[in-house]
Symmetry: C2
Subunit: 615 residues, 2 copies
């Protein structure tokens, strides 16, 4: 990398050994003291003259007067002329202070010699060794209180961006539309700390002003920062000032990776500066794969990535569904994983690199090499965890979305299981279950021919009756409308009106099947419904589109309408089923899920959401 | 464990989200803000009214006047009534401020809706979740500036022991024989910090006084420490006061593990106290396997060991030689590992739990389950690394010891290879090489029949000539004697004198073979030599025994005598060979080793050691 070619590791410095843990030694280190620093006892017992015990036996024990022995603790000096130690277990001590020895104690017994562990002038550690706690402990004990090491770089993080505001803005109620609370500093400090690097965060957030940024950079260099990280201002918008401020010392612009392309590396007054893209996922990926190796390089270590330096081995996982990757560049994809049997399954999370939610829920990052473009279901993918995962407790619930599921998962968590919900629609859920790609599924699928929910399809998919089925609840489906129903929507026929636009759900969603059924029943062509192909994957997403005015009508559950204060016209009540394979009866995740489903706490929360009835 | 049964996880507390990373959430957390908090642009470009671009095409572009658009950065609010954004790439901008749009921009294009990523009141994280940097970042962005979490325990470490002294004692030149510099605090703070726990170290080292210790404990409880760690005073010596000070609240004494047996768990004024044994290895093992799980328990996490909490998976390694383990208890053994082909080989390090040197050089700990007693060579052993290992660069050099080898390894390290020296004697070295258990061997083996060194044996072991051989140097062997040769030793015949005791080397050592040869030549019986069965494994160890007065004579190299300022009577000059298999010609460790052997820097250091001649 250009940065490493341009900046050498930092020079060695004298540092106190007690604060040297994690540093790279800048010299070979030799012991200054012997360990032990005298002949000491290896046990708790009595130091004696070996000659005085020469003929001791259980039959003819030797009695030693007070001046013939001395008590020594483990590690205590054995004072001359004593040359042997009898273990406390092998001696009787009388009240008058004499001790009785039952066995001869040969010269040197239970002694540790001067320098037995470490000899003065012995070579203890090499230049280039990383100082572990145990090495520092050894060096201190050997009298090495100071040593030459490569210090850690002092790092400054500068948040920038017109739209970025501090917590004060929220506390004082002065956040404006478009304002974003500064949060990338938490990613940067959190992850660099895990690698042993401390980061100072600049006290203020810079607006998009080249001169201001230059001023702060100049001060940071004068304040002896060794590395400066700037957040934001690296894309090509009109106000992207970081590139402008750094233009005299640019080392790289744009990286061949995704996300993170718009990163910048530069030298400013001789100090290395890296601009991290403002989007959180981009920022994180550049941090882990570019910044951490550079910091390691400066610290005298091999230029290891975050994962390498923490010995985080990639997992070999299988893709749960096909995906595309950007050709010609390495791509790091937020992902979640579950284990089905012995196989770890992975799926990428949506939301793009601006999404904080998907980053927050990600288990880690999948690395798609630049040579891969189209990946098939079942393809092997390398996955690097970012969090501690206990996959044995985790079950994957695929299928129909409902706003009540999140609280169900929260309560299951308290019962020792983890429920990961993947919204793939009712049909997607039961098909995944049938393929062994989910531990459980939720569904509400209307059979158009019979008008019966769930039963016909499930019986077809599970002919031997190996699945366990429970109706979690009945729920009201209907039209979600802007508050006050300004367009005066009354029923299904209104969906063909010119001034009405709907938002639909993804293919396979039970709600979409219901909509299709309603349209067909009334002889309405899908083509006549504006927005039929505008898709989203959850009831709340659909309701949010209505709230935002992007759609006038969405078919969805009452609780989603209620959550956003929207109007609702009921259309149908549906049985919402939870289905799982009996093989998972004793899976901790499924057990917790079933317990949670019967928990009165969950039911009372769901009751308050509105539109649900218990079986 | 008794401690966990007695002390519940700490109560939840309100903490600023910005300093919550690593904590366990004490509540379900819901978003307070929408993300984005208005309709924002997903790209850099021009916000427009979708209607105004309805018929735009490359042939008939639409020209928008200044009031018909507004520039928006990625993430900026799209001000009403604009309802669509045209990417900067799809537009021409003229100098007069009008922009030309070549493509229709449908309603909603390139917009991110209010709440599209996170909706206000959405459930973002569950009670019991560990707060990662990305979760904290998400929560801050969603307006959650404070949350309820289980705080981290405040931990105090108290070093105790009459013989333990602070750095001042060394600096001021007042260290006495038997004094030991305090260094366990470095292990404790270093390893707990890796798990995310900060530790305060008590300002002074306590002597062995029950009342003083009780006083410090009382003050610590009043100062709101949640956990107190005491170092030392847990064995059964006369002065072991920790048990005495804690006797009213003892929860456990002695653990069924090795090392670490003499650990104590107690409650003092309602505060958990753990006494760590004073020996460094014991202290470390109790820290990693007892203290860390307890701290995790208090912090609301599963009671994971150090290795579990850092996701350090055990390696499956093969024992390099047989070993015994204590029956009936789990044993943690300091160990080193190398890789031969695909197989990681492990051997335990000697020195016992008091040895700082072997802890300092250990790669990690092997865990021998309580069911194992005698382990054979080749048995599988679980190994947990404590340091970052790059085994591809590491070669194992078995064989003859020489004081010059350490500097050779130090210089090889600077050349990108790592050389691990295992002193198994000349014979052990070449046999290991023949068995594929070493990358290289050093040897000086006299063939008694021919008087020729090395050649006869190596030709027998390597009949096809696949080994590469280099004479590293010629070295002087002789008698190492106390300074001034007080016993007046003159030659081999003196070894049978009644007032002379030798120290010998382990079977298979070239030096022992030489001694045997000398004795035989002079017709001296081994039985007549006192100390013939007192063994040590290196020249410096042997010299140290002479220095300590434990032996009067040792056969060894001149450099060892010189290093300790001892007398030396030369006996023979030996060719000291380095041998390695040609399969390792391009092994980074071997390459670095061979480079180092020719490095003038090494040769000049060895010249200064004395007793060497170059080939």
């Amino acid at each position: 990398m250009m940065l490493m070619a341009h900046f050498s590791p930092m020079g060695v410095k004298k540092v106190p050994t007690r604060s040297s843990v994690g540093l790279i030694l800048g010299e070979n280190v030799f012991a200054r003291l012997n360990i032990p620093n005298s002949v000491v006892s290896a046990v708790d017992g009595y130091a004696v003259l070996s000659e005085s015990t020469a003929n001791a036996s259980p039959q003819r024990p030797v009695v030693l007067e007070k001046q013939g022995y001395v008590w020594v603790n483990t590690g205590s000096m054995v004072p001359p002329p004593f040359d042997s130690v009898v273990m406390v277990e092998d001696v009787s001590r009388w009240d008058d202070g004499t001790v009785v020895v039952y066995r001869a104690s040969p010269k040197g017994q239970n002694l540790r010699y001067l320098g037995e562990d470490v000899m003065s002038n012995q070579l203890l550690a090499f230049e280039g060794d990383q100082i572990t706690p145990q090495l520092a402990s050894l060096l201190i004990s050997a009298g090495v209180l100071e040593l030459k090491a490569i210090p850690k770089p002092r790092i400054l993080f500068i948040p920038t961006g017109e739209e970025i505001v501090g917590d004060d803005a929220l506390i004082n109620g002065i956040m404006k539309p478009g304002d974003v609370l500064e949060s990338n500093s938490i990613l940067v400090t959190g992850y660099l700390e895990r690698c042993g690097y401390r980061v100072d965060v600049h006290s203020s957030i810079l607006s998009d002003n080249v001169d201001e940024l230059r001023g702060v950079l100049k001060r940071a260099v004068m304040d002896d920062y060794h590395v400066i990280l700037i957040s934001g201002g690296s894309a090509k918008g009109l106000r992207d000032v970081s590139a402008e401020a750094l233009k005299d010392g640019l080392l790289f612009r744009w990286l061949l990776m995704k996300p993170g392309r718009p990163a910048i590396g530069a030298s400013f007054d001789g100090c290395p500066v890296i601009v991290l893209p403002g989007f959180p996922s981009s920022s994180l990926v550049v941090l882990l794969t570019v910044v951490v190796p550079f910091l390691n390089h400066l610290s005298g270590k091999p230029p290891m990535t975050y994962f390498e330096s923490l010995d985080i081995e990639p997992w070999e996982t299988q893709l749960l569904h096909r995906m595309s990757s950007s050709p010609g560049m390495e791509e790091w994809v937020k992902a979640k994983v579950v284990k089905m049997g012995d196989q770890a399954l992975l799926w990428p999370l949506g939301g793009g690199s601006s999404s904080l939610f998907s980053l927050g829920e990600a288990d880690g990052l999948a690395c798609i090499p630049s040579s891969s473009v189209e990946l098939d279901k079942g393809d092997k993918v390398r996955f690097y965890p970012l969090v501690h995962l206990d996959l044995a407790r985790r079950c994957l619930l695929q299928g129909s979305d409902d706003p009540a599921l999140q609280m169900l998962a929260a309560i299951a968590k308290g019962k020792g299981g983890e429920v990961v919900v993947k919204r793939t629609g009712s049909m997607g859920g039961v098909l995944a279950l049938a393929r062994g790609e989910a531990h459980a599924a939720t569904c509400h699928i209307l059979d158009p021919d019979t008008g019966i929910y769930n039963d016909p399809l499930i019986k077809r998919l599970d002919p031997h009756g190996l699945w366990c089925r429970t109706i979690l609840f009945y729920r009201e489906q209907g039209f979600i409308l802007a508050r006050g129903n300004p367009r005066g929507v009354k029923g299904i026929r209104d969906l063909v009106r010119d001034d009405i636009r709907i938002v639909n759900r993804q293919p396979g969603a039970g709600t979409r099947i219901l909509l299709d059924h309603l349209l067909e029943k009334d002889g309405i062509s899908r083509d006549g419904v504006k927005g039929y192909n505008d898709l989203c994957v959850s009831h709340l997403d659909a309701a949010a589109r209505v709230l935002a005015g992007a759609a006038d009508v969405a078919l969805g559950v009452k609780s989603a309408a209620d959550a956003l204060g929207l109007d609702f016209i009921p259309i149908a009540e549906e049985p919402y089923e939870l289905v799982y394979h009996s093989a998972y009866l004793d899976h901790p995740g499924i057990m917790a899920l079933m317990e949670a489903a019967l928990d009165p706490k969950w039911r009372s929360i769901v009751d308050r959401m509105g539109g649900y009835r218990w079986p």
